[in-house]
């Protein structure tokens, strides 16, 4: 469904950090100059990012492209471990190694209305998708966050996507509840859902509707080593057998994913 276009990374490129911006205590956004990737990247694709000339941390980390324009791309991420902690302290002028762009991406909509559903940092690829959505397609954007600590993040998203609707578990930001409260009972045939976020959220969305699941596109996360299809470290079970999230995904239809086999 989404594998029409090639998803093997074009190569490994050097990118120069233009600027870094702290959005919340743990969320950052970085602009990186990398003309090739900027030119090629499509919404839902990602890059594997690492520091050159050092073997610790060794492997690249997958991060979604959240915008691409001119020579630059941007990423946004939450600090959860080693690499993201190092990235959060990066300075303009530093050089990063970027493998990409890769993955199938969200592709083009096959309906006339796309509802984008993001959970926290899952917003990253959807910001890009939102901005590149063909003119004639209707679009919604729903963002769910945990609590008030995400307020600056929501403010930041609001500037990029004025129509965004928020849900938070404590009800302090937007409506109280999860993004599921923002979705209709049925998925109309003209509508599709693109979603990215924590697995439990995507699973709930993926399993919410009995009909139309093939119109739900989920962007999955798994641990990755190579980002080029070689290591088979990122495989998931689908109705069509094992698939690699890095090159066969990260976007799958909710229908094909064997949700019960996914951990987390």
């Amino acid at each position: 469904m989404f594998d029409g276009e090639s998803s093997i990374p074009a190569g490994d490129f050097k990118g120069t950090v233009r600027d870094i911006r702290q959005i919340t205590e743990t969320v950052f956004s970085i602009h990186i100059a990398c003309p090739v990737i900027s030119r090629l990247a499509r919404p839902g694709q990602f890059i594997m990012i690492r520091f050159p000339n050092r073997s610790d941390p060794l492997l690249g980390r997958p991060l979604a492209v959240s915008s691409a324009g001119g020579d630059d791309i941007s990423i946004c991420f939450q600090v959860v471990g080693k690499m993201t902690a190092l990235l959060s302290r990066i300075l303009p002028g530093e050089i990063l190694s970027l493998r990409g762009p890769m993955g199938n991406g969200f592709g083009l909509p096959s309906s006339t209305m796309v509802t984008m559903v993001a959970g926290a940092l899952g917003a990253a690829p959807l910001i890009f998708a939102y901005n590149r959505m063909p003119q004639n397609i209707g679009k919604n954007f729903i963002l769910g966050v945990a609590d008030r600590s995400w307020y600056p993040f929501c403010e930041w998203i609001k500037k990029l996507i004025p129509e965004v609707r928020f849900f938070s578990e404590d009800g302090i930001i937007g409506k109280k509840g999860t993004v599921l409260n923002g979705l209709g009972e049925e998925l109309s045939p003209e509508e599709e859902i693109w979603t990215c976020g924590p697995l439990p959220m995507m699973r709930a969305i993926g399993q919410k509707y009995t009909r139309g699941r093939e119109r739900i596109r989920v962007s999955l996360e798994t641990r990755m080593a190579c980002g080029m299809g070689g290591c088979q470290g990122c495989v998931i079970n689908t109705l069509k057998g094992k698939k690699r999230v890095c090159v066969d995904g990260p976007v799958f239809s909710a229908e094909e994913v064997c949700w019960d086999d996914l951990k987390g």
Binding site: S97, A225, M228, Q232
Partner: protein
């Protein structure tokens, strides 16, 4: 390095390579674009993902985990089986125009025999088989064959009987007597030795207080293991007369040179391809520069000179 330049060429058990850099088994996927010459600059040959008789779905759960300057993997020989390999993947592999070796995981004797027979039927198009007596990530057979000289001799003899082409044997560093195993493999008819596969390690996810891998242990690769791999090459090189392909943590041309100076004729690189597609070209440039600086005409002159 121009393609005409033969200063880096080597002969590994009858297989002629323009460069001493072999992409190791299990790291290069069968996506056609990756088998084009532009994506394989500096590569002398490729080893395929392990092939078994029947398809294998590989291991469940987490399969890769980063460690300091290394990674653990527990893929478990996921592959489509020898028939799928021949029908679907071999044509892609051949497209590169480069020599390749088919990595065959030793299973029980009957399976190993059957797999090799299938390959032997088309041996004019298969430059070599790399007999993998060293996979740490499966229950049946795998690494066990490579642990002791006797079992290694048995596995290699069997292979020698049913595979008539060039036979590379990939050893496990887990063996308490890698010299003995190497000799046994040589005596049983191996044409070259790959030294070595991954080291057994493990990881615990402290958030879940559980081993990361379902099989608990997994194979360690990457720069972290280079000093260990170099020692294995050094040890084996003092024991056998067939060519040695060093494998384990090679990233830079200095790593490759060290392997060669220790007695290897070529190297395999695995994890490095996860990090930098340009690794083979970068190493070849470094080697060519070194030869020029030292006014040497061929890399072969350096094999074992540190001994």
């Amino acid at each position: 390095m121009t393609s005409k330049d033969k200063s880096l060429s080597v002969n590994i058990g009858g297989v002629l390579l323009d460069s001493p850099i072999v992409i190791a088994s299990g790291v290069w996927p069968y996506e056609e674009e990756l088998w084009s010459p532009e994506r394989l600059k500096g590569v002398g040959a490729l080893s395929t993902k392990a092939v078994t008789l029947e398809p294998r779905i590989g291991n469940p759960g987490t399969r890769v985990w980063e460690t300091p300057s290394g990674m653990l993997n527990s893929i478990g020989l996921q592959n489509g089986g020898v028939d799928t390999f021949i029908k679907e993947y071999l044509p892609i592999v051949r497209k590169s125009g480069l020599p390749f070796v088919v990595n065959v995981a030793v299973e029980r004797p009957a399976e190993t025999e059957a797999t090799l027979k299938r390959l032997n039927e088309i041996r004019e198009i298969i430059p070599a088989v790399e007999l993998n007596v060293s996979c740490p990530n499966v229950d049946d057979g795998g690494m066990c064959w490579g642990l002791f000289p006797e079992s290694a001799a048995q596995a290699v003899s069997l292979a020698r009987e049913f595979w008539k082409g060039s036979l590379w044997v990939k050893l496990t560093p887990q063996s308490p007597d890698i010299r003995g195993v190497a000799s046994a493999a040589e005596d049983a008819g191996a044409d070259a030795l790959v030294v070595a596969n991954t080291w057994l390690g493990m990881a615990i996810d402290t958030r879940t207080a559980r081993p990361v891998f379902e099989r608990t242990c997994a194979g360690l690769s990457g720069p972290a293991v280079f000093p260990l791999a170099l020692k294995a090459v050094w040890d084996v090189a003092s024991t056998v007369n067939i060519p040695i392909v060093g494998c384990g943590g090679v990233f830079s041309y200095q790593d490759c040179l060290a392997m060669i100076m220790a007695g290897a004729s070529a190297v395999e690189i695995g994890t490095a391809m996860f990090i930098d597609f340009e690794t083979p070209a970068r190493i070849c440039n470094g080697l060519a520069g070194y030869l020029e600086e030292k006014v040497l005409s061929n890399l072969r002159e350096l094999v074992g000179i540190a001994r």
